[in-house]
Amino acid sequence: MSLAEPATLPVATTSVAPRLDLLTRLTARVKASLPAYLLLLPSLVFLALFTYGAMGRVLIDALYQRATPKAPLRFVGLDNIAAVLADPAFTGAVVNNLIYAVGTAVPSIALALLFALALARTHAVNSALRAALFLPVLIPMVAASALFLFIFLPNVGLLDYYIGRLLPVLPNWLGDPDIALYAIMVITIWKNAGYYMLFFLAGLQAVPEDVMEAAHLDGAGPYMRLRHIILPELKPTFLFVTVIAILNAVTQVDHVFVMTQGGPSNSTNLVLFYIYQQAVEHYDIGKASAATLLTLAALMGLTALSFRTMANREGAP
């Protein structure tokens, strides 16, 4: 075999001349982009190690399961995914997460827009107010949760201390399954509104000055200008902030860890916390991986959709 190879090689090259041409062009191209790949190599290595590697591992883990605690792992195909979808705790977590996503995204974006419109002009007072509104962003979620834990403390906490004078029966903010999720949502809104405000402030800078002036001359009032110029101009910002807000609603669960552990009675259980519970408390890596895959798929779908909408908008004449 090894003797035959050198003999066949020249025959092949001479008989297929166009392909050789293609080959040289390809090598040339590879040669040209080689430095680029080499430059990317360090980050690629780390991405592979810590991102793609982990994702691949999740994909594999999601396909295996033990029948009984001491039985060996065996391939079960999509059984884990089916088990997750059939688990009422998972569907409960998805419903909670939907309420949480809508209930935090809408108010925090509305507040952010309001703040940005009110503080659009830069002067000393506005700068100070902007800084004040941005402050919650600088506080780590875990620290903020610890603070709110005290604020929500039943009977003796800051909130009950003031509200206690008005209400006959004090709500147990984090201990009542009907209220706990909304108490958690308040923290998210408080923490994120200032952050989204920054994007809207940046978006407002991009509203063309001449169009505004023209509208002004044509006699358009403040509401007309907002409705027909500012809001349409802010559309990409809205889209971007909405995506960020929804991603946050899925990936930020620090306060659930610190404040409620998903309780009482699973009323504040969110999808990411469910995954943690499956992996850590139930020690069920298969089910945790399957739930992770489902979440990843949903998030990727959402991101792809939003990017396409954005691309369409920019591509349109």
């Binding site: 360090p42 006959p168 201990g175 399954p177 998903g262 309780g263 009482p264 139930h282």
Partner: protein
Amino acid sequence: MLFSRRLMLGLAMAGTMAGALAFPALAGEGPTEIDLFFPVPVDGKLARDMGTLIKEFNEGHPDIKATAVYTGSYDDTLIKTRAAIKAGKPPAAVIMSANFLLDMQIENELTNLDSLIAADGTTKEKFLGQFFPALQGNAVINRSVYGVPFHNSTPLLYINADKAKEAGLDPNKPPQTWAELTDWAKKLTKREGDKVTQWGIAIPCAYDYCGWMMETLTMSNGGRYYNEEFGGEVYYDTPSMLGALTWWNDLIHKHKVHAPGATPGPAVSTSFISGNAAMMMLSTGSLTYVRDNAKFAYKVAFIPRNVRNAVPIGGASLIIPAGLEADKQKAAWTLIKWMTSPEKSAWWSRATGYFAPNMAAYKTPDMVEFLTKNPDAKTAVEQLDVAKPWFATYKTVPVRKNLEDEVMLVLNGKKQPKEALAAAQKAADETLKPYNAETSLKLP
């Protein structure tokens, strides 16, 4: 030239970093290096005390170099230990929540300590005989020793003595039965119209604490909560637990002497310290906190009974994970024996507020002096006579949560005790199913 110096530098750096990741420092000659994972489950300066303890150990044992690694709460410590075992680098010893041992043993994550005890020329009975009998249940599985009790607790009834006197009650004769406790709670609740300004009693309910309190009330009502001999059964849907939950529910919704809803442990202790609740049931682990913060006279007493005096233990044991090299295992065993000796056990107890599991600790002169100065620390030790093991089953945490989720609904007035316990039993049976399929229901 495209391959600039910067690129080369970058490549070189990436190479070094990858190298550093791939080849951790090679173990050199010298003392056996071991890690001890330890949690800090209560407030205080436990981490610093642990540093002092390990430093003293290393000075006395030049052939071993132990390092104390702080690993968060009890639950976090379990997670980190399991991750370390999975990564093939288990720590040599871990201070593990006493009721996680069975679950770990089922998952083959523990070293059986019998051979280490035998190698010391002693017997299991003699070795375990050093510790309070109530603590042995959580350390022995299938008649083999898997853990050594390190620091332990029991639930206590804390009473605000000033408020009791105000209400015409004698704090030196604390309530001994549920009937007396209900009566006390009624007298200690203050109302302004519909509004309660002072609650008679507070009992914590958050994940972890809630299950422990349910076990406390069930045991005081004659029940067992779980099968002590076998990890595949819990007794949620039973008269003893129904009585316990119904009484708790009555305190809230019938007598209105307990704030509604599920209240976590720290909120309960804050409520007690601030005078908002006149009595509370809480761990002995909070005794130091109450002693340091209460601005009023307080009393601690046994948990009152309905059928019998009985409480579960809490706290942690020292374990050796599976899959260690022989020399590390031996070093870990030396460390564990040293840490649970009477002198060290007594010192740790005084530093933390937990009681010392080693009975001989209470005969050391320092401890005798401490107890004369702080007689309230004695109540927990005396209650040990009626203490029983902490619930431990296959998948302890999820099985416990199956109950807690339902109890929380009852405390919030959303379900009646009977149907809640039936639902909890059903959920727990489902969680325990795989284990039973492998054990009790695996038939020839």
